[in-house]
C-alpha cells in the first residue's frame, strides 16, 4: 500500500508528534508514505473563510504535486487539511468555471491538475484499506483495561462525511477496541473544540474544551485521543486555562490516535514522540504490557 502524504503545517510545529507517530505506525503496518515535495499550506479555515478563490488555488497546488507523483491516493492526518483539500476537489468537480480558473492559475505556476487525486484521512486508510483485522494481527501489546475517550473533532466527517457518520462517528471507537482498550461512551465525540477561536474569542473556545474535558472526566476516561492537530492542541495545552476559567483541576492525558495505536503495536514511547505531550501520559504508559 503506497500513498502520497500531506503532513500539513502543524506537523512541523505543535503536532510534530502526530507526524512522527504517523510515520512510525504506517511503517509498522506496511503503509508506505511518500511526502509531497515542497507542499504548501492548504489554506485551512482561516484562509479559506476570507479568500475563497485564492484558497482553492493554493490548496490545488498540493493536489497538482500529488498528481505528479503518480496514481496514488493522497493521505493527510489533519482534519482541516482533509476538509479543505477534499472540498477543493468537490467544488472543482461541481463548478466547471471554477475548475477552469484553478487549472489556468496552476498552469501559470507550471503545474497541472486534472481534479482526480483522491483525498483520504489517515483514519480512513487505516480502518478501510489496512483494516481492523490486519491491525489487530500486528498488536503485540494489547492495552487491556485502558479507558479511552475517542475525540474525532468536527472536520473528520463533516461536511464531507465519506467514511464515517457526520454526527456519530465510530471508526476510532472500533480502532480503540482493536488495540484491546475500552472506548468510553463519549457523547462529545464530534463536538467542536473551538478551533481557531482560541485566539480570537478564547473564553468561548475554553467553554467548549471544558465540556469535552468534563465529559471525558465524568465517563472516567484515562486518556482522550484525537485525530486532529488543532483539537489535540486545544484540549491538551489549554487545560490550565480551562481550569482557571472554571475552577477545575483537569489533568487528563491527550494524545494523537496514532500514538495510542503505536503503543499497542509495540513501538516505543520515544519513537512515538510521547515526550512532546504537555500533560504527562504516565497512566497510559503503565497500561502497556512489559
Amino acid at each position: 500500500m503506497k500513498y502520497s502524504y500531506y503532513p500539513g503545517c502543524s506537523a512541523e510545529a505543535t503536532a510534530v508528534a502526530y507526524d512522527v507517530s504517523t510515520r512510525a505506525v504506517c511503517d509498522r503496518l506496511g503503509v508506505e508514505l511518500v511526502e509531497l515535495p515542497d507542499w504548501n499550506c492548504c489554506g485551512s479555515t482561516s484562509y479559506f473563510s476570507v479568500r475563497e478563490l485564492r484558497s482553492f488555488g493554493i490548496s490545488a497546488r498540493n493536489l497538482a504535486i500529488a498528481q505528479e507523483l503518480g496514481d496514488m491516493d493522497l493521505v493527510t492526518t489533519c482534519n482541516s487539511c482533509y476538509t479543505v483539500l477534499a472540498k477543493t476537489n468537490r467544488y472543482m468537480a461541481d463548478n466547471a468555471e471554477l475548475k477552469a480558473d484553478i487549472v489556468e492559475a496552476l498552469n501559470r505556476a507550471g503545474r497541472h491538475y486534472d481534479g482526480n487525486v483522491n483525498v483520504r484521512h489517515l483514519v480512513d486508510v487505516l480502518v478501510n484499506d489496512v483494516g481492523y483485522d490486519a491491525v489487530k494481527a500486528k498488536v503485540t501489546k494489547p492495552l487491556a483495561g485502558l479507558k479511552v475517550a475517542p475525540y474525532y473533532g468536527c472536520q473528520l466527517s463533516r461536511p464531507i462525511g465519506t467514511f464515517d457518520d457526520p454526527e456519530f462517528p465510530m471508526t476510532l471507537d472500533r480502532l480503540v477496541e482493536t488495540v484491546g482498550a475500552t472506548p468510553v461512551d463519549y457523547p462529545c465525540k464530534s463536538k467542536c473544540c473551538g478551533g481557531m477561536m482560541m485566539l480570537t474569542k478564547e473564553e468561548a473556545a475554553l467553554r467548549l474544551c471544558f465540556e469535552l474535558l468534563k465529559t471525558a472526566s465524568d465517563r472516567e476516561a484515562d486518556v482522550i485521543i484525537t485525530a486532529c492537530p488543532l483539537c489535540e492542541m486545544n484540549v491538551e495545552a489549554y487545560q490550565p486555562m480551562v481550569n482557571k476559567q472554571y475552577g477545575t483541576h483537569f489533568r487528563i492525558p491527550v494524545m494523537y490516535f496514532t500514538q495510542l495505536l503505536g503503543l499497542a503495536l509495540g513501538i516505543s514511547a520515544k519513537d512515538l514522540a510521547l515526550d512532546k505531550q504537555v500533560v504527562p501520559v504516565d497512566k497510559v504508559l503503565s497500561a502497556v504490557p512489559a
Binding site: R61, D101, A109, C192, E202
Partner: protein
C-alpha cells in the same frame, strides 16, 4: 470604504450581497430556508451571536442587510459544519458565514474585533512563507491585541520547551508558484 449609513446604501449593497450569497456553490438553496432553526439549535456558539444563523437568513431575505453586516455572527462561527450537515433544505450555512466574512472585509464593515485581524495575518503569513508559522502569527496578532501574550505566555513557553513552537519560519521553495496562482485568481475575483 463603504459605510452603511443611508437607506440607499443599504438597498444598493443588499442586492449585491444577496446575489453574491446566491452565487456561491449551492447558494441558491438559501431560498429554500423554512426557518426551522435546526442551524441555530445545533450551533455551539450561537449563544454568543447578535443574531442566530436562522435570523441571519431571515434578515438577509427581508432586506435587513445593516443588521446582518453589523452583527458579530459570522465572526463567532467556529466552522464545525454541524448546521451544514443538519439543514433539511441543504443550505451550506458554514459557506454562507464564510461569504459574509469575505463581504464584510471587502466593504470595510468589520468592527475591529479580533477575528478579521487574525485571518488577515494568517493569509499574509501563508502568502509570505507558503506555510503557516504559528509564532509569527501569534506575534503579529499580539502587536494588535496586547492582552494576548499575557494570556498565552505560560502555555507558549511550555510548547517552546517541548519543541512544539519553532521560533523560525519554514519557507517553501515554490513561493513564486504560489504568487503566480494567487495573482491570477485575484484578477479573476476582480472581474466578478
Amino acid at each position: 470604504m463603504a459605510q452603511l449609513v443611508t437607506k440607499e446604501d443599504v438597498s444598493r449593497l443588499h442586492k449585491v450581497f444577496l446575489e453574491d450569497m446566491y452565487s456561491i456553490p449551492g447558494g441558491e438553496k438559501l431560498k429554500l430556508c423554512q426557518q426551522c432553526g435546526a442551524c441555530s439549535g445545533s450551533c455551539p456558539t450561537s449563544y454568543l451571536m447578535d443574531y442566530t444563523p436562522r435570523e441571519i437568513i431571515a434578515s438577509l431575505r427581508a432586506g435587513m442587510l445593516d443588521k446582518v453586516v453589523h452583527s458579530n455572527t459570522m465572526w463567532m462561527c467556529s466552522s464545525c459544519y454541524l448546521c451544514t450537515v443538519r439543514c433539511p433544505a441543504g443550505i451550506k450555512l458554514t459557506d454562507m458565514m464564510y461569504e459574509l466574512k469575505r463581504l464584510a472585509i471587502k466593504y470595510g464593515l468589520t468592527d475591529g474585533s479580533k477575528n478579521p485581524t487574525m485571518t488577515k495575518i494568517f493569509v499574509d503569513n501563508v502568502d509570505t512563507y507558503g506555510r503557516n508559522w504559528e509564532v509569527g502569527l501569534i506575534g503579529k496578532f499580539s502587536l494588535r491585541h496586547p492582552s494576548v501574550p499575557f494570556k498565552f505566555m505560560s502555555m507558549g513557553l511550555k510548547l517552546i520547551a517541548k519543541g512544539r513552537l519553532p521560533l523560525r519560519p519554514k519557507s517553501i521553495k515554490g513561493r513564486d508558484e504560489l504568487a503566480a496562482v494567487t495573482s491570477f485568481l485575484d484578477s479573476k475575483e476582480a472581474v466578478q
